[in-house]
Symmetry: C2
Subunit: 138 residues, 2 copies
């Protein structure tokens, strides 16, 4: 990340176009014992810290229903595709913020593979098109 | 489904509020040999047929990135949560349409568990909140 890129996003904060990360605070790793705070909550805190000053908005959610592959988070901008990631860990906050910034700069609304942080490559669970998407090849 | 319920949704067709199903037409079941048409494409056709006259919009997409658990589809209305399902089969079109109708009638934007078709229970991959969602419990 450079200061120049951070400046690029600063005007979008809290606007509908702001790149937004939703972190599930209930998530824990499948098969691991109960912990307090939960790994998802720790990830949410780390993501919020990593997002400071970047223009990326971080929201906590109770459940993204990706429980078998947590910790989980979703990333989108208004008008972009939405990406859901799983198998994250407490240290993935900066990766999520970098992914959100890549998405915010993508004119086609698609998070580029090149330059995407590794946890957002191996942890990709699904993606969903923007609300007005149409792709009828027939 | 009753005729009364069908009437409830008919005005929303093609509006931004229309319940919409995105079906991945590239999907095939993991480990199964190549087939033409692909299982996802067959599912998309069956879903479109099941949606006729219901007000539910069906869109084909090239990839929902849920490739290890296809066939896949996503369901949402404007303002609702978005649901991603995997492990579907060619016969799941009516289940997807019923799920979209349940979501369209849900005042809280959450697809009810009760009454949800079985393929949309066991096949739930993830869900993502609406764009303006806020849930900060602190």
């Amino acid at each position: 990340m450079t200061d120049v890129e951070q400046t690029d996003l600063s005007d979008t904060k809290a606007s509908p176009d702001a790149p937004t990360i939703y972190v599930c605070i209930t998530c824990r790793r499948a098969g691991e014992p109960e912990a307090d705070p939960r790994p998802g909550a720790i990830l949410a805190e780390g993501t919020a810290k990593a997002a400071e000053g970047t223009g990326v908005v971080v929201r906590q959610v109770q459940c993204l229903a990706n429980c078998t592959r947590g910790p989980s988070a979703a990333v989108r901008c208004n008008g972009s595709w939405t990406y859901i990631f799983g198998g994250l860990d407490a240290a993935c906050g900066p990766a999520l913020v970098e992914g959100a910034r890549l998405l915010a700069h993508a004119a086609d609304g698609i998070m580029p593979w090149r330059g995407r942080p590794e946890p957002l490559k191996r942890g990709l669970v699904a993606r969903v098109p923007p609300i007005d998407f149409e792709e009828d090849p027939e």
